[in-house]
């Protein structure tokens, strides 16, 4: 393919912790090979060289929380052939979407002495609420193996092979004894999308939902089981309100337990 230009990749950041884009740099074994196959055209965290768009693939990390970012995401969409969101902030609004359940002015005044210096929207929202998204890669943080899979799938024009089943499947495959059945530990595995490799149960703790809701999660049934294990209403509300609090099934279920 001599003379064929390498596909151009851009990485964009909105409100986030930087962890998901760090996952790209954490691909230590693959990074130089990836850089050989694609042009890293815009990735400020890693490079001060910036190539102009349009870009073949844009990875977007973070949620929309400011009036400026609300505009910026449209400009990014216009210059991107494929737009992939990475991580719980970009796909569900992130932990900062906890503001969506409260008065943001009050929150600003708790953190900042001069709230008048702060420009912020009342809600933290996922990228798909603003522009068309070609693919969402979930997780808080994303798993780097899945990131490499999604990138190679889009670069080769095929569908990414990303699980949409629950984390329970990964526990079974890994041979982890169910922590909820065997030890009575509250676990969000039955309603949480797979992708992390069912880490927490392997470390003797219940899943806490980093990858967000799986397809058709039965949150009502899970809440009933948790209550049987002695979990109170307020604890249920908090369990659904973490990194994927504003994902629809988690939001609805948390509101059902809020008095």
């Amino acid at each position: 393919m001599a003379g064929h230009p390498k596909p151009k990749l851009a990485v964009w950041k909105f409100a986030s912790c930087d962890g998901c884009q760090l996952s790209l740099l954490d691909c230590e074994d693959e990074l130089l090979a990836v850089a050989g196959a694609i042009e890293i055209a815009n990735f400020p965290e890693a490079s001060s060289a910036v190539m102009k768009g349009p870009y073949d693939v844009s990875l977007v990390e973070g949620s929309v929380t400011t009036p400026h970012d609300e505009e910026r995401i449209h400009a990014i969409r216009r210059t991107s052939n494929v737009l992939i969101t990475i991580g719980a902030c970009a796909t569900a609004g992130g932990i900062q979407a906890l503001r969506n359940f409260r008065d943001v002015r009050e929150m600003t005044s708790i953190v900042y002495a001069r709230p008048d210096y702060i420009e912020t929207l009342t809600k933290s929202t996922p990228i798909k609420d603003h522009v068309f998204v070609d693919f969402e890669l979930r997780g808080c943080p994303i798993s780097k193996g899945l990131l490499v899979e999604v990138l190679s799938a889009f670069l080769h024009g095929r569908k990414p092979n990303i699980p949409n089943y629950g984390a329970c499947v990964e526990c079974k495959r890994r041979g982890t004894v169910c922590v909820m059945v065997a030890s009575g530990l509250p676990c969000m595995g039955p309603i949480t999308q797979a992708g992390c490799g069912a880490l927490c149960p392997a470390y003797a703790r219940g899943c806490f939902g980093c990858f967000g809701p799986k397809d058709t999660p039965n949150t009502t049934a899970l809440s009933a089981v948790w209550k049987d294990l002695g979990v109170g209403e307020q604890d249920l509300v908090r369990a659904y309100r973490t990194f994927n609090a504003y994902a629809e099934p988690f939001r609805r279920e948390s509101e059902a337990h809020e008095q």
């Binding site: 950041k13 909105f14 409100a15 986030s16 912790c17 930087d18 962890g19 998901c20 884009q21 760090l22 996952s23 740099l25 954490d26 230590e28 074994d29 990074l31 130089l32 850089a35 890293i40 990735f43 400020p44 965290e45 890693a46 490079s47 001060s48 060289a49 910036v50 929380t65 400011t66 970012d69 992130g94 932990i95 900062q96 906890l98 503001r99 409260r102 943001v104 009050e106 929150m107 600003t108 708790i110 953190v111 900042y112 002495a113 001069r114 210096y117 702060i118 912020t120 808080c140 943080p141 992390c196 880490l199 927490c200 470390y203 003797a204 703790r205 806490f208 980093c210 604890d235 908090r238």
Partner: protein
């Protein structure tokens, strides 16, 4: 009357979003600002009403680069509130996990974010075309740091195995021993790193910083200690807010921290090294000496060497911990919540990270305060820029701008942390 402006709208190779603005008027800097426009995320607000046991996992999400630092400062503060002390093998495992984060973060900064500045490349990928062995060494070092975090913490970004009082599950001696071969290589590679960065050329520039770091008898500070400074501060962590204040300035979404008595101060590798040289292991001290470092380094551009010395220390310390490790019977110490306040401070790769929480008698958080290292360094960074530009006012603007960016990267600033970001703008009016 002549004036000019140096502007960098998006500062690259830093963690988060910021810009630099320097205004020069009549051959003097009129104003130097590190502008942080990373959107605010309000952690301290939504921590209110959360349970103590959730704080390590929630605060980890402030920063994907140093989640362990957040988890450790949170655990320390909560354990302080509830009157619990964690010792022995569990304390050692925490220190090992933290060494993993230091190795990962320092290797990332030295090889991928900072070295390209000194050698004139835009990034490590391009650097790798000319210095393939060095970049590969850096990547493998980083990978080994990540391997420690993955084994002890469950995963490298936002580890899942940390709980208040200890861990959910502790590794066996055999599992830890599997890291030994890689770590022995890492120790040699980190010594190689010190030699490599010592050959870089550094601008002549020194400042009389007040260095602030933890000090703990018998060890290089990572997990705990008293807060000490090069100008005589010596306080317990719980006295932090009596001596340090946070100010909200208009150009930044990060709060600026200053010492009430004396103003700007510097945290991070330079500060830890200056205050704790004697606590470094012999191999790390020897590496520092052979790189030509004195016991105190006041040239911020040489922070890359100090960071490499700390890389040596972290590999060496990780090996010692694994060597003496005996798997504890229980993976955590029981914690009973009570109405109380607690204070915690640990050494994130970028410097001291302070947490304070107040709890009700069910262990729900009534209020929280978090002061990350980058917000503490902001004022020192702005003062560095002011002095550096004044001393180099004749330098061509392009070169000056690059060196100003580099001066910011000296601090490995983490803007995501500081707002719980960063842009560079230099203006000549």
């Amino acid at each position: 009357m002549s004036s000019k402006t140096i502007k960098v709208d998006v500062l690259a190779r830093v963690e988060g979003e910021g810009s630099l603005q320097i205004k020069i008027k009549d051959q003097r800097v009129a104003d130097a600002k590190l502008v942080i426009f990373e959107p605010p995320r309000f952690f301290e607000a939504f921590l209110r009403g959360r349970k103590f046991s959730e704080a390590p996992d929630i605060t980890a999400r402030i920063c994907g680069i140093c989640p362990v630092a957040y988890q450790m400062s949170a655990c320390n503060a909560i354990e302080d509130a509830f009157g619990v002390r964690v010792n022995g093998a569990i304390r050692d495992l925490r220190r090992l996990l933290y060494c993993g984060e230091w190795i990962e973060s320092h290797a990332l900064h030295i090889y991928m974010l900072h070295a390209p500045d000194f050698l004139g490349y835009t990034d490590a990928i391009r650097l790798a075309q000319y210095f393939p062995d060095a970049v590969k060494r850096g990547l493998r070092l980083k990978k080994i740091g990540n391997a420690i975090m993955t084994l002890v913490g469950g995963r490298e970004i936002h580890p899942i195995n940390v709980r208040v009082g200890g861990f959910y599950k502790v590794p066996t001696k055999e599992q830890l021993s599997e890291l030994m071969e890689d770590l022995k290589w890492a120790l040699i590679a980190s010594l190689e790193t010190v030699r490599w960065v010592a050959t870089l050329s550094f601008p002549q520039f020194e400042r009389d910083y007040e260095f602030v770091a933890l000090k703990n008898p018998g060890e290089y500070p990572i997990n705990e200690g008293r807060l000490a400074s090069s100008k005589g501060l010596d306080i317990a962590v719980r006295e932090y807010e009596q001596h340090f204040i946070e100010e909200h300035v208009e150009h930044s979404h990060a709060l600026h921290s200053t010492l009430k008595a004396r103003g700007a101060y510097c945290v991070g590798p330079l500060a830890r090294y200056a205050l704790n040289f004697d606590a470094l292991s012999p191999v790390a001290q020897e590496a520092a000496k052979s790189a030509g470092l004195a016991r105190v380094c006041r040239n911020p551009f040489q922070s890359i060497i100090v960071r490499a010395v700390e890389l040596v220390y972290a590999c060496d310390e990780a090996l010692r911990i694994i060597d003496r490790y005996e798997m504890p019977e229980k993976s955590y110490v029981n914690v009973e919540p009570r109405a109380s306040s607690g204070y915690g401070c640990t050494e994130a790769p970028r410097g001291i990270l302070y947490h304070r929480y107040r709890f009700d008698d069910h262990g729900l958080i009534l209020d929280a305060k978090i002061v990350p290292p980058t917000s503490q360094n902001q004022k020192a960074i702005e003062e560095d820029l002011l002095e550096f530009v004044n001393a180099n006012i004749e330098m061509p603007k392009d070169k000056l701008q690059l060196q100003c960016e580099q001066a910011i990267r000296n601090y490995d600033p983490c803007i995501s942390c500081a707002t719980h970001f960063l842009k560079l703008r230099v203006e000549e009016e």
